[in-house]
Subunit: 274 residues, 4 copies
């Protein structure tokens, strides 16, 4: 029983280091991981640049294997140190971690799968978890709260914008026609989105006077309706106050967002290690 | 008289299914209609893509006729089930429903009218009526209220922007001239709108130093005045509270926007079927 | 003395019709003038379109002369009916009215001055005076008040943006150089403005990796700082309430913006004709 | 000791003229400096324009030397008149002043360093110090306060946007590939930033239907998330009140931001010369 106790302590310690950021070791681990992720992104980027890949192909290949092995070790440690491994494996970050590690192993068996290493960019999202250790935590949470509150309204708005773009794109398809670059309705809808959002690539542009008149109307419209999501989000941010949470995650169920003075997990009632 | 009573009940039942969304059958009808509209839009889009139309022309043609017939049945049922059919026929949605159904029938008589099927995209607007069954209803209404309140101010603003674009376009026509792409005043006004709204296609761009200087001033101006509609809408959204309405429409006069606990139509006093 | 009295009454009546919009005749005059201005703008626009001018050159020429003569009559009446003609002649609208009328007369003596007719577009600004007769008056005034209040802050902001563009443009000139389209510092500054305001024509675009990196930073920056004027204007609009003024202008000094219940001009103390 | 006293007075007088703007001489110096900086910027700009430099190369060269010598004199005076010269030399403005003066001297020894004169554009930032003499001071301070308060939140937001662009750029690199202009991941990330910030040059644009679909999603997304920084800054500006400070800087420690009625430096307790 003493051995089990010890093992449990060892597992709990590991969990604290890997999943939390309240201890010094935990912070160190997070910062090291962050640096490793950034290095791996830079590697993937450099490899994609033709001229660099030609020169330093072998060095980049070796460096990528080193990163892959380190990621693999981290992945295994994460599975070992949590009470319910499936909780982690099928979580958002768990899937991303898996997808960032597997392509290199696959590339030894199948040609072409190597490119999937690019999915590693998604690991950057982990920065937000790690960011919690910084003073920005309060800020991010407040923002997220305001965004969550305005989610439904912004969704309704974006939905309306999309329908508008379908209708306007269809009209422009009838007005301009295939000769002026509006070769199909989906392409015209793409143009309408490019115009209404004020991106304006210019790869497709109206040529007939009527088309330019309608395009002008769409732009003026886009200029006015951009005010809507801004208004929604602003009123939400003005409303929400700040909330204080810490960086702990439950060793049992993995839930986060516990209050600063929380002693038990608000989801499963497990004791938190403060 | 019993027969009339029965018929009236039958009509009322149909009205409830087609026009309202409070009962299960009503919700089912709305969702089915929504899916059918989406399918019809996808059909129209696919048909407009040259390569797809060549391959699957016959299948798309048959599918479109099926959708048209289903739309026709719905249109007839809507006329039958309402007390005052003209109310529906000449309403906004009634006209759109008619325009979405007729092109296919016309195309059997006149060549070329088939393209008008594209007007079916307007039926997507019905999504907003159907959306009422979702939890977004409160959100949309609040948004609409704020937008209605800021309508006049935004209109004044857009009017000002338009006049500004006419004046700036005219100046640029005099400065740049036909050699640099500003071939006429309407085209220059089109350019001014493209620039002021920060769309910036680049199909027309100033080439003379003076033209580029004026263009820069227009952009800086556009950057500043985009703040105006945003400010207007934001202050309105902050002001308006939430209002709760249900999805009922009066069987007698067709009015909507009844309060949750309304028992009689606020417009004609007819009993509502809650 | 009776004759003078009569003449004075006649002048006052004319002043009321031309300068104010409270009587029926005054409103009629304003609406007629508005339509005439719009016609004259359309004429100038049509004339600038090569294909239309070729076909209908004579008709457009005659129509323009008719408009010019009507404008001339209006200009003379405005001078006659006001107590201090110089007040009108050297006012903002007085100068515009003069500039809109003179080019046609000049074109009979000097070749080429005809193009100056395009300045007539500035007369569109008079719409804002005439608009006062509409229900939008309260709205415009409130907007103007908020804009006036935020003027200084927005000016500081735009000034900062301009300096930023000069600095960023200079850096890009050094980084990209003449070979990549950044042929001179003024042109690079123009590019920086095009980029920072998110217009993005694409006539000049960075080609070197470092240039694209700096450009990305500028865009992200532009994305963030557009929030500043919006924030300024929004907070001002939220603050300001509505003010009610009428459409009278003083027959003596020409001042406007009198309160609804004003009996004397707040500037010169002259009795107002309510 | 009398001589030392006199010298001290002389130094203090000079400090007041150069570093502050409360006396007439101080204002005059600031305005003169502002004009000189503007002239030097115009000189650098003109020189960069090929056609102008060819014609007036000698005149521009002489004018630039005159400006450089005047800047040098100012730089020396600034060092002499302050109590702790290192404070100024290693301050933000001190470094810029040095960098604006040195390139001309270097260009006599090394060929090519002349271009560095362009760094002089950074001196424009001094305008903000000089602007303090204008009535805008209150406005700028309020703005800066609101921006400082929203700094952390906007940073988190921009950080999120950057990560999003890396992920979206990587996806587009996989979807579109090198044949459609997405030659490498960094370039694709550059495209994602151009698109998300609604700049939209159009130098790189998606060609495959799937790429255009993803691009549309990015644009709609960018349209929605631009609301976030606006919301943050607006709520901060609404919160902050106005603060009144004067243009004095302490002769001893160089600190600024003293209240209007301050008699002693809030940092070192030195008597302020009001």
């Amino acid at each position: 029983m003493n051995k089990i106790q010890l093992q449990k302590n060892w597992k709990e310690k590991l969990h604290e280091i890997i999943y939390e950021a309240d201890t010094f070791a935990g912070k160190l681990f997070d910062v090291a991981l962050l640096i490793l992720i950034l290095i791996s992104i830079v590697l993937v980027m450099l490899e994609s640049v033709g001229t660099i890949d030609e020169k330093y192909h072998d060095q980049l290949y070796i460096a990528e294997w080193i990163v892959t092995i380190l990621f693999s070790i981290e992945y295994v440690l994460r599975i070992i140190s949590i009470n319910k491994p499936t909780k982690y494996i099928f979580s958002f970050y768990g899937i991303i971690d898996f997808l960032s590690t597997i392509p290199m192993y696959l590339s030894t068996f199948f040609v072409g799968t190597h490119t999937l290493v690019a999915f590693r960019a998604l690991r950057l999202l982990r920065v937000f978890r790690i960011l919690k250790l910084a003073r920005y935590i309060g800020e991010s949470n407040q923002l997220l709260k305001a965004l969550k509150a305005s989610r439904a309204k912004v969704a309704v708005f974006l939905f309306f914008v999309l329908i508008l773009c379908v209708i306007l794109g269809t009209i422009m398809y009838l007005v301009e026609g295939a000769d002026n670059g509006f070769t199909s309705i989906p392409r015209s809808v793409y143009w309408a989105i490019v115009t209404l959002t004020t991106v304006g690539y210019g790869d497709i542009a109206p040529h007939t006077p009527l088309g330019q008149f309608i395009a002008s109307a769409i732009m003026i419209l886009g200029y006015a309706i951009i005010a809507i999501p801004t208004g929604i989000v602003t009123s939400e941010i003005t409303k929400t106050g700040e909330i204080h949470t810490n960086t702990q995650s439950c060793t049992n169920c993995g839930y986060e967002g516990h209050k600063d003075d929380a002693e038990f997990c608000f989801h499963c009632g497990n004791k938190l290690h403060t």
